[in-house]
Subunit: 95 residues, 2 copies
């Protein structure tokens, strides 16, 4: 999952509405598709961002979820055991 | 989302592995499909449960995700404002 992908929004620790705004901006800049990505504990927040964006702000533009993919990634911290973390990618698309 | 649905597992505050075990038990009891459901902050945990069940325990049985649906529910607490909470339902199916 690369933060620099075009049309993708990576969910992290910033205030919730920042991410909703990012999604809106991408669509307003002409994107047909925006992918919301998150890892671990931010997965719940990603779903919230998608639901709020869809219901409150994108009703006129008719945006809907076209794909949801979950996966898990392994990574190692120095000298520690491997850690497994779940990921999600939710694709929103203009109809 | 009804906790008493057949073949569904509602994710809450119990230890993580309880839910993984519940999923396993349902498949071992002959279910072809198990639906993992969660609301709000438990959504991340639901994805973890699905990923761990799929990768560590259900490899021989070839179980895969066939559907993921997100939604949001409104509910009212007495005398308070309406609260909106996101939900997820992940369907695991034997191939």
């Amino acid at each position: 999952m690369d933060k620099k992908d075009d049309n993708s929004v990576m969910i992290g620790g910033k205030p919730f509405m920042n991410y909703v705004t990012s999604v809106m901006v991408q669509f307003n800049n002409g994107a047909n598709e925006v992918i919301i990505k998150a890892r671990g504990k931010f997965i719940s927040k990603a779903v919230d961002v998608v639901e709020v964006a869809k219901r409150k702000f994108l009703t006129e533009q008719k945006v809907k979820i076209t794909k949801i993919v979950t996966d898990s990634e392994e990574f190692e911290r120095e000298g520690e055991k491997k850690v497994c973390v779940s990921t999600i990618e939710i694709t929103l698309k203009k109809e």
